[in-house]
């Protein structure tokens, strides 16, 4: 997706609104203090002359931010193992702290317990999203409340999963247009919840710098392919594909699949342009299906070329990923990773593939099954990490993420 689905507002305007509310009295003292802090942050941002820092994504709402939010330049996914004494009481305390911390950081305000308030240099469209792994439900006695369709991804023969990129009881997802803002948020959240949970893995990814005038249109992956053409874009599509409606506590929530897909860029380099296009079924130039002219053209899977072969090969990625079942659609919101060179001197790079769906079992797994069985792209890609999380709905000010699960 190329454009934010949720309207955002300028941080400076937000600070002004807080100051305006303060003038109305009531909780005047509180609001004035916050406004002073917000104004100081705003001034630092103004001094920097970079408006990218002032963009704000709302924290409170029906849905958590970071999902329908336009892709930020940087992302980090942190998975945690819950400590031995974690229980439902600890969960409530942790989630209150996590919610309050996230609400402040995403507003560009340093929490009072932040040892490094100077590093909060602006919201920079920071989002902090909380998810629960299977272990969270087990530890809080809420297994019977797990939404239907929340299942682990089946093991596939193409997988080479590594424990350091897989699983986890708790997910905290970060996205921001500035890498320092993101790094500080990740560090402060981790230390704020350290008495409850221990980091298991952190995966960092990137898209493109926002301040440089990011190219319009669907993003490209590190193989150069346009990636994400069939994503939901309208509110209706999000409601149909991404946001859950039941059970009651989960209404407005979703589920996340986080898979680390290593790309064999060195062997991919051996292909020429037509071979690369055949593997996916789309043109590299603009992402149009090989049977069309525009990215948005519907692929003609039956078209046969002069050589008597299907124009979009039988094992092409878009053919394998396409199903007749309209339910099997979901949001892809991937980041790239590029961690330098591995021990063999090859590129250590790939895709931090992240999908959001209201039902992993029935909406996501069938597509993954089809791809794992036969997809030309499997020659150059290897899943090396996999994890699933329930993303609870958002919360309103005064509440906390997960409250409807733990207190209903």
């Amino acid at each position: 997706m190329s454009e934010p689905q949720v309207s955002r507002r300028r941080f400076l305007a937000g600070a002004g609104a807080i100051a305006g509310a303060a003038a109305l009295g009531g909780v005047a003292g509180v609001a004035v203090d916050r406004a002073v802090i917000a104004t100081e942050t705003a001034r630092r941002i103004e001094d920097s002359g970079n408006e990218s820092f002032t963009d704000l994504e709302p924290f409170y709402g029906i849905h958590q931010s970071g999902i329908a939010t336009g892709l930020q330049a940087h992302g980090a996914f942190a998975s945690y193992t819950l400590n031995d004494d974690f229980d439902v009481d600890a969960a409530k305390r942790m989630l209150r702290v996590l919610t309050d911390t996230a609400a402040k950081l995403t507003s560009g305000i340093a929490p009072m317990s932040d040892n490094d308030p100077e590093l909060v240099t602006g919201p920079a469209r920071l989002t902090i999203t909380v998810g629960f792994g299977p272990g969270f439900f087990a530890r809080t006695g809420t297994v019977e409340k797990i939404p239907s369709g929340f299942v682990e991804i089946p093991a596939y023969s193409i997988d080479a999963l590594e424990p350091q990129w897989s699983g986890g009881d708790l997910l905290v997802q970060f996205g921001a247009d500035d890498p320092l803002v993101l790094a500080h948020a990740l560090r402060h959240v981790s230390r704020s919840i350290r008495t409850f949970a221990t980091p298991k893995w952190v995966q960092r990814g990137f898209t493109q710098a926002s301040g440089l005038g990011r190219p319009a249109g669907t993003p490209r992956n590190l193989m150069g392919q346009v990636d994400g053409t069939v994503n939901p874009r309208t509110e209706q599509e999000f409601d149909d594909q991404v946001w859950a409606s039941a059970p009651a506590w989960f209404a407005g929530g979703t589920m996340a699949v986080v898979r680390r897909i290593a790309m064999e860029l060195d062997t991919w380099d051996a292909l020429d342009v037509p071979a690369k296009e055949l593997s996916v079924g789309r043109k590299l130039s603009n992402g149009a299906p090989l049977t069309g002219e525009l990215e948005t053209d519907v692929p003609d899977l039956d078209a046969v070329g002069e050589n008597g072969l299907k124009v979009i090969p039988t094992l092409a990625h878009i053919r394998r990923a396409r199903t007749a079942d309209d339910r099997q659609k979901f949001l892809r919101r991937p980041f790239h990773y590029d961690d330098g060179t591995n021990a063999k001197g090859q590129n250590d790079a790939g895709l931090l593939f992240v999908a959001y769906t209201s039902d992993i079992e029935n909406r996501y797994v069938p597509v993954q099954n089809a791809l794992a069985k036969r997809d030309l792209m499997n020659q150059w890609t290897t899943p090396i990490g996999s994890a699933v999380f329930v993303i609870p709905p958002g919360c309103m000010e005064g509440g906390y993420i997960g409250q409807a699960l733990l207190e209903s």
């Binding site: 003292g29 309050d100 009072m112 704020s192 008495t195 709905p393 000010e397 005064g398 207190e407």
Partner: protein
């Protein structure tokens, strides 16, 4: 707007009402309060307190376990305001809460000691109580304060007025200065 979204809003409204019910014990803010509305000329009515928090302490089995309470205090009046101490519920500690400061001694170490004259909030000024600086000190803790717990501190002022402020407990590494009751002089 379809039924999914309406259901979502209903859930969100429920969350909101639950949250509001617990508001006074979870936000860490004290704007106007009881003493302010009843006694409009006291020190307690002259200040607004926000961003209150307390350093979590999960082990109270040691000798004289202690922790700190922090907040941002703003004086909205034309007169200086002085915080002299306070108290917390007796199940946490039976001892009075003292005003403390962190200073450097002759050896160059940062040490903590009682701020015997209290903590002065200048007229139309604010003071941020924080680790490594002024703070409210809780002594001889008999019950742990776990991360995410809330603690209500009754702040006492020099004129005898008081105000309650509730802070959430956070985990933080710093604030380990050695406590030296008579560091200065």
């Amino acid at each position: 707007m379809n039924k999914f979204r309406l259901a979502s809003i209903a859930t969100a409204a429920l969350v909101l009402s639950v949250g509001l019910a617990g508001c006074t014990t979870s936000t860490g803010d004290s704007g106007t309060n009881g003493s302010a509305s009843q006694q409009s000329e006291t020190m307690s009515s002259s200040v607004s307190i926000s961003d209150a928090w307390v350093k979590a302490i999960d082990d109270v089995s040691g000798v004289a376990p202690m922790t700190g309470f922090f907040m941002l205090v703003t004086n909205n009046s034309d007169q200086d305001v002085v915080i002299t101490g306070g108290s917390v519920p007796a199940d946490l500690t039976p001892d009075a809460v003292e005003t403390h400061e962190v200073v450097s001694n002759d050896a160059g170490d940062m040490v903590m000691q009682e701020a015997k004259d209290g903590i002065t909030i200048p007229a139309h000024g604010s003071v941020k109580l924080m680790p490594g600086s002024f703070h409210m000190m809780l002594f001889n803790m008999v019950k742990p304060i776990l991360v995410g717990d809330t603690v209500t501190l009754t702040v006492a002022f020099a004129d005898g007025s008081t105000t309650d402020v509730t802070g959430t407990a956070y985990s933080i590494e710093n604030g380990l200065e050695k406590y030296v009751p008579e560091a200065k002089n």
